[in-house]
């Protein structure tokens, strides 16, 4: 595959307030670098992430979407991430079924203590999306940057 070196993907990361957002903060506190491509949206729980937010991101120009939540069993709200896991598994499977590249979407469990994991995950995800190139299969042409 041809990789455009200059391609800077837009990556939206939905992070739950209690674990992953804190994990992202921790990677900041520890000065652990990850690409600027990643922009975080804070949600109370990963289970707040509606599939339509994910599609919306792709529509408006995102090249990759990652959802981060507390590890299963550690949800601040007890069960939120278990629902997330089912919903997102099925959604990602559906996107795959429609021929959307698998590496454009990810779900990762990052605890408040895992600043290093957060940074490493974002590094890897950005690299994966970069390798895929711009999102063409699930984009809205009207939103493409001129």
């Amino acid at each position: 595959m041809q990789v455009n070196e200059n391609f800077e993907p837009v990556i939206v990361a939905f992070c739950c307030n209690w674990c992953s957002y804190a994990g992202a903060d921790l990677s900041g506190t520890n000065r652990l670098n990850y690409p600027t491509n990643v922009k975080i949206i804070r949600v109370p729980c990963s289970c707040r992430v509606n599939p339509m937010f994910i599609l919306r991101a792709f529509q408006k120009g995102a090249d990759g979407v990652i959802i981060c939540g507390c590890h299963p069993g550690d949800c601040h709200y007890t069960s939120g991430n278990y629902f997330t896991r089912r919903r997102i598994t099925l959604l990602y499977s559906m996107l795959d079924f429609l021929g959307i590249e698998r590496n454009r979407t990810r779900l990762e469990w990052v605890s408040a203590a895992e600043g290093a994991k957060f940074a490493a995950t974002m590094e890897q995800f950005t690299a994966d999306v970069k390798a895929l190139g711009p999102n063409r299969r699930l984009e809205d042409l009207r939103c493409r940057k001129q």
Partner: protein
């Protein structure tokens, strides 16, 4: 069968057990049958029809009908009873206001399949020992019954009535169906092939909403696609993205609730195999979270409002099939 149904409907109307009857009404041609509510013996005798073309699932109408006064008799085919149960489960139908008479299911015929054979000007269709004798403006034609069967009937999942107050005819069994074959075939394609397949299909969509409006799982008071406050409302697919968006979200919203009645594909004027999206979810749910048939009962927890602590991770998507 039709006679037995009319007879029973008349009895139940006459003894006051029910006030109305929902069934099917004959049309102008052999095949253009409309779901209808009957209130008198005369109407039943004159218009009631039950034949090879009465495929429409009338369960969804019961949402509207049971909100009215009085009790209604509903003739439900096996597949319709699943939709019925699912609606009961979601508190959309008042069970007390329905008298369900289970009737035999299909296979039902698809007029479009007959026309696709180049048989046009259809005036009547007769099933003679599984050969269709079709009288047309241009002479008589024949074709095998099996080739004109509706797709949804060709992959029938069950001949069993999961809800009824009485049955006319014998009850059947849940069937071993081949309904996931096409899903599997698609799964085994490359991502590019799948993408091309679906782009080809979904680009035909004219957003007429027939799939949504016929769907017994789509009974929202106000659909997100009609609701400007939802942020995703749209009336037409102005971009291929919106074609995808509508069908993904719709399939997702009915995931775990879809009984696989197949009405979406039956009514699609563009012949988009929309049921494959729903079946993909059903297949995934069965494989990942255990066999689940929406509408099989009225009490079990739907897979998407349930979980186990050791559910698989979404990375399972990466580990299956080809990319």
């Amino acid at each position: 069968m039709q006679e037995a149904m009319i007879k029973r409907a008349k009895e139940l109307l006459a003894d006051g057990s029910v006030d109305r009857v929902i069934g099917w009404k004959r049309g102008e041609f052999a095949y253009d049958i409309t779901p209808a509510v009957f209130t008198s013996a005369e109407e039943l005798e004159h218009d009631f029809v039950f034949d090879d073309f009465t495929a429409a699932n009338v369960s969804k109408y019961l949402v509207k009908e049971t909100a009215k006064e009085g009790k209604i008799l509903a003739f439900l085919k096996p597949c319709d009873t699943y939709s019925f149960n699912q609606l009961i489960k979601e508190h959309r139908i008042d069970r007390e206001k329905v008298y369900v008479v289970g009737i035999p299911g299909g296979p039902k015929l698809d007029i479009e399949k007959i026309k696709a054979k180049g048989i046009t000007g259809v005036l009547s269709v007769k099933n003679e020992d599984y050969t269709l004798k079709i009288e047309t403006l241009y002479g008589e034609e024949t074709m095998p019954f099996s080739e004109a069967v509706l797709d949804k009937c060709a992959s029938c999942k069950s001949k069993k009535h999961v809800a009824y107050d009485e049955l006319i005819g014998e009850d059947g069994d849940v069937l071993e169906s081949n309904r996931f074959d096409m899903v599997e075939k698609l799964e085994n394609m490359t991502a590019q092939e799948r993408f091309d397949f679906w782009r080809g299909q979904l680009s035909k969509c004219i957003r007429c909403n027939a799939c949504r409006n016929v769907c017994p799982a789509c009974t929202c008071e106000n659909c997100v696609f009609d609701n400007p406050k939802s942020g995703i409302d749209n009336k037409a697919a102005a971009d291929s993205f919106e074609e995808n968006m509508f069908h993904i979200i719709r399939a997702f919203h009915v995931a775990g609730r879809c009984t696989d009645c197949g009405e979406c594909s039956r009514v699609c004027p563009q012949h988009i195999p929309l049921h494959l999206l729903n079946r993909k979810f059903i297949k995934d749910i069965n494989e990942l979270y255990g066999e689940y048939q929406a509408g099989a009962d009225t009490t079990s927890r739907a897979p998407l409002t349930d979980y186990t602590k050791d559910d698989c991770e979404p990375s399972v998507v990466h580990e299956r099939g080809v990319e």
